[in-house]
């Protein structure tokens, strides 16, 4: 069923009786050409592009819970392409371009809102680091504008410019940066993949990976064994567990990232704001809630919930930067499980097992990567070759020292 405004009106007049399911609920087949483990954003987009770009039709996505139930349904929805290292730049740039066509591509309104993202800086040194970043973005063909303090004030007059602990020197504005409706991204890709014949199988947990003579032949699941010629592990948050089923040990540690949303408010924040000294970022959702977050809780965890010290730190950062939000009330806090890699960049690569592919290590930047991650993972699975824009996301780069460390904090998983 094709969605449109006209359809909404005609269906409304008919009592909305004619809407059909967004996707089928198929039973798993005995064998697939390709299986994607993980029905999150990345897994669904991988399946979609495998079908769309590479013509595969006999594909299944196996999801142990419900579609989009991982980090794609639990994040602060920021979409940006403001990286400065070769390797990251081209990938996120590609992703942003895919975002810009996503509604048309999927016939689904994911509410991608290019409202502009401002990274604030608080010293001359930070300014130069952001200038390097901004220049990288423009070299890549993306957009960036360096704002001085007055430039920031024009955009964000409500920040505390007078007595905040780390004065605002300026900001790097990324006009094409913004947000999207996170759940809709998962649903849009799910619906798109389903229309291309992909079997989306929910409540199907993978419990083993079958390997014969160094080649993957299928998976064991809570709904029985399923044969497959190719298997992609796309389960960020749980990558280590699933890879362990194939005997692999990954350069990944799992960490909690908390995020917060306030009660609904009339529009008051029109950008995505990132505070360079306080690990704090905020935007306002279309429903009116202030959506914000900070840094990891810092200890390895699979609990998908955090503790008060980081909660308080985030709130304190908000209060020094923009005390205007003080009376907004936090409605809900939640935590996601982050695949933290030793350099803060992801991995999209083959493994030492034939037909087994890995897409993991998204740290806490996975949401914006959803389109390109799927695009490149699909390319890798279909052709056995790394896609041009993901060729530096190698699994062995930590051993060889070809790092992609945007933060510069080194081989400590939680510092990225």
């Amino acid at each position: 069923m094709r969605y449109s405004g006209w359809k909404v009106i005609t269906q409304g007049l008919l009592g909305n009786k004619g809407w059909t399911p967004a996707w089928r609920e198929p039973a798993p087949k005995a064998e697939y050409d390709a299986i994607i483990i993980g029905g999150g954003g990345h897994g669904l987009s991988t399946a979609y592009y495998l079908a769309k770009n590479h013509g595969l039709r006999n594909i299944a996505v196996l999801e142990k819970g419900y579609l989009g139930g991982g980090n794609v349904g639990r994040n602060t929805t920021i979409v940006r392409a403001n990286y400065f290292l070769k390797g990251n730049q081209e990938f996120y740039s590609h992703s942003l371009k895919l975002w810009e066509g996503l509604e048309a591509e999927l016939n689904y309104n994911v509410m991608h809102s290019q409202r502009g993202l401002i990274n604030l800086f608080h010293s001359d040194g930070q300014r130069d680091a952001f200038a390097r970043r901004g220049n990288s973005m423009i070299n890549q063909g993306d957009d960036a504008i360096l704002l001085d303090r007055e430039g920031v004030r024009e955009h964000l007059p409500y920040l505390d410019f007078e007595q905040t602990r780390f004065p605002i020197y300026g900001g790097l504005l990324h006009p094409r940066g913004g947000t999207a409706r996170h759940d809709a991204v998962a649903w849009g890709y799910a619906r798109g993949a389903d229309r291309l014949g992909v079997d989306l199988i929910q409540n199907c947990e993978v419990t083993g990976i079958d390997i014969e003579n160094g080649k993957v032949v299928g998976v064991q699941t809570s709904r029985g064994a399923i044969k497959a010629k190719k298997v992609g592990i796309v389960v960020a948050g749980r990558s280590s567990q699933v890879a362990a089923m194939a005997g692999m040990r990954l350069p990944i540690e799992s960490h909690i990232l908390q995020a917060f949303v306030t009660e609904g408010l009339k529009p008051v924040i029109h950008h995505v704001i990132s505070f360079g000294m306080g690990h704090f970022y905020m935007s306002q959702s279309d429903k009116g809630g202030l959506v914000f977050g900070g840094d990891l809780d810092f200890y390895a965890s699979y609990a998908a919930r955090g503790n008060l010290p980081m909660v308080e730190h985030v709130m304190e950062a908000g209060m020094t930067l923009m005390p205007m939000i003080g009376r907004a009330k936090v409605l809900r806090s939640w935590g996601g499980i982050m695949d933290m890699s030793p350099d803060g960049s992801p991995i999209i690569d083959k493994t030492h097992i034939d037909g087994l592919y890995l897409d993991c290590g998204w740290n806490y930047g996975g949401f914006k990567a959803v389109p390109a991650s799927g695009w490149c993972m699909a390319h890798l699975m279909a052709t056995d070759q790394s896609h041009e824009v993901a060729r530096r996301f190698r699994l062995d780069r930590f051993r060889t020292g070809h790092l992609l460390d945007e933060e510069g904090t080194g081989s400590q998983h939680n510092l990225h």
Partner: protein, 92 residues
Amino acid sequence: MRLTCPLCGPRDRREFYYYGHEDYLQRPGPDAGPEAWDDHLHLRDNIAGEVRDLWYHETGCAQWLVVTRNTVTHEILSTELVADRKKKGVRA
């Protein structure tokens, strides 16, 4: 979250700095080779369950601790001083 520092007693999580898995304790020799070093610094079992990892009592006594805890429930099972582990015969 609360951890018990073997010296200072039960303390709030905010007093501690987290480093990572106790793998960091097993420093390979200078000639151990790239695989051993890769293993030491990067590769992790990353268990959903009981783990042993390293914490620093940063705003307390400045001691490094090995903490045994559960990454799913956040239960803290035991804490010991890194500096004491050789004395106690814990693997070095």
